[in-house]
Amino acid sequence: MPAAAPAKPRRLDEPAGPLLRVESLHVRFGSQEVLRDISIDLEPGRTLVVLGESGCGKTVLLKSMIGLIRPTAGDVQFEGQSLAGLNDRSLAHLRTRYGFVFQGAALFDSLTILDNIAFPLREHTRIADTEIRSIVASLLDEVGLPRSVLSKKPVQLSGGMRKRAGLARALALDPQIVLYDEPTTGLDPIMSDVINELILRVRERPQVTSVVVTHDMHTARKVADRVIMLYPVFRLRPDEPQIVFDGTVEELGRSRDPRISQFVEGRAGARLMELREEQARDNGAPVESAADALTDAATDADEGEADA
């Protein structure tokens, strides 16, 4: 296994073990296996980026880390405490140490931005409303949103603003670990970079550990201390591990594994042939026209790349 990036010096008050441990995690929905034997140790203060193509189980892994999805087998431990062993009340209390930034921000439609960001503070603290307002204002400053959005409903904001409001809400309880689910998906390149900068800024908070699930290589290059790459279970051999890469982003770029290099370079390559086979299998007979079109497009793209 490739060596991980040099670790930050450990503070005296940091726990000795990993902050989060995922141990032989299996998740299955009915007959569909989504995660197979995933094991990850996450050190405090580090940023882990989980890469992988759509449908490979990245979001399921992220939701398993906070106990939103119960594993079929295996365990997730936060500071050595198993999430599976906690009752609802203890799990709810533990979740106050997490921040979760959802793909679509998941702000509550019926509440204003002020009420959305203040929600965890009102739920878990007895802070006076005036102080909550000032905390919300400072969180807005941190994510670069104007105060004028406070009275607006989420539907009145742009996608980038909603993501930043979602990040502000995730940071409201000063979490130890922040989980980001596709933080730059659906945003323009400039706003994507703004979000990447915010992830870096959040990392500067003392003791904050981050897990970023993405398929955006730009985000991975910018924020990752460590990268793991998942591969869809249905395309693995029975004995193959689902984590096909674990290392630094530099090592990722040097990998000779075609599954990894294709993803890093954004080339469809042999995947198109697989799609063709899947299509034919599903239809019971080859569907030449659509598959040929796909293959032609891939060939054109490869030739164009070669010319360049």
């Binding site: 939701k63 906070i66 939103l68 609802d88 799990l91 709810a92 209390h93 533990l94 979740r95 106050t96 997490y98 979760f100 959802f102 793909q103 679509g104 998941a106 702000l107 509550f108 439609d109 019926s110 929600f119 965890p120 739920e123 878990h124 809400r169 309880l173």
Partner: protein, 287 residues
């Protein structure tokens, strides 16, 4: 592969019969699992009513949506049902020369059956499907996951206020449906059919008593609870996409309505027994 599987599976009439039995078994298992799931959901909801003090800022908007916003449609339904009852019953009663008894049959039907069932049906249609669609959208857009990720319980925040709203406000809506139905029946009978108002009300008073009215109101508590639980359960278990949300809203109404009818039948049988217990002389004869 196909040949090999067909060699192992029964064919012909036996195969068809085996498949039907298997399908029936699967349906029964799914049904039992579904009922069990709703029962657990109901127990959790009732548990959260007592586990934590309810927040006024969460309750009131739900109460407004369920109660105040449903009032016009429930009132309108009641008004027209009262008039329709008068239209449909008049010819039969007139043939027997008993037009003045029209008030008793209209008002008895209204307060015992039609008022409660129609108020519940309107609530299921207007509020139940909206609740399923709203919670379904929250599920699809991960807002329910967001609540859980912040250590908040979605049943406490989303289901309990809706459950309490339906439970507490459906009796008031039924009173409104009853009142408007009585008014509609009287308007049509007296103003348009010319039935003497004194006899109309005297007969109504004689045959409809407080027990009939309370019986109707009592039933609505079960209807309200059923609407809220079934609709919220459909919203919570909504499948992804616009189609999933649409299906959740439709199923919420259909299943609530079927449950209202089933509850109405069994509550009707049980409450008649209760009535007989308190009034052994039996009901007064209308005709």
């Amino acid at each position: 592969m196909a040949a090999r599987s067909s060699a192992h599976s029964p064919t012909g009439m036996t195969g068809w019969f085996a498949n039907q039995v298997a399908n029936l078994g699967q349906f029964a298992m799914d049904w039992v699992a579904g009922v069990g799931d709703v029962a657990v959901f109901a127990i959790q909801t009732i548990g959260w009513i007592f586990a934590r003090r309810q927040r006024r800022d969460v309750l009131l908007p739900n109460f407004y949506q369920i109660g105040v916003m449903s009032l016009p449609v429930v009132a309108l339904t009641g008004l027209f049902i009262g008039m329709v009852l008068a239209v449909q019953s008049y010819a039969q009663f007139k043939a027997l020369g008993l037009q003045t008894r029209l008030g008793s049959v209209i008002n008895l039907s209204l307060v015992r059956e039609l008022g409660p069932v129609l108020a519940a049906t309107m609530l299921a249609g207007r509020v139940g499907s909206a609740m399923a669609a709203e919670l379904g959208t929250m599920r699809v857009t991960e807002q329910i996951d967001a609540l859980e990720s912040m250590g908040a319980n979605p049943i406490y925040y989303l289901v309990v206020p809706r459950f309490l709203g339906c439970l507490i406000l459906i009796p008031s809506l039924t009173v409104m449906a009853d009142f408007m139905g009585v008014l509609g029946g009287y308007f049509y009978s007296h103003v348009l059919l010319g039935i003497d108002y004194h006899h109309y009300w005297a007969n109504s008073r004689e045959y409809v008593d407080v027990f009939d009215f309370l019986l109707g109101i009592f039933k609505t508590l079960f209807f309200g609870a059923a609407i809220a639980l079934v609709s919220c359960h459909h919203g919570f278990h909504c499948e992804p996409g616009a189609e999933g949300v649409g299906r959740a809203a439709t199923n919420a109404f259909v299943h609530s309505f079927v449950l209202i009818l089933i509850l109405d039948l069994f509550l009707g049988i049980w409450l008649n027994n209760v009535h007989d217990f308190f009034r052994p002389e039996g009901p007064r004869k209308l005709l």
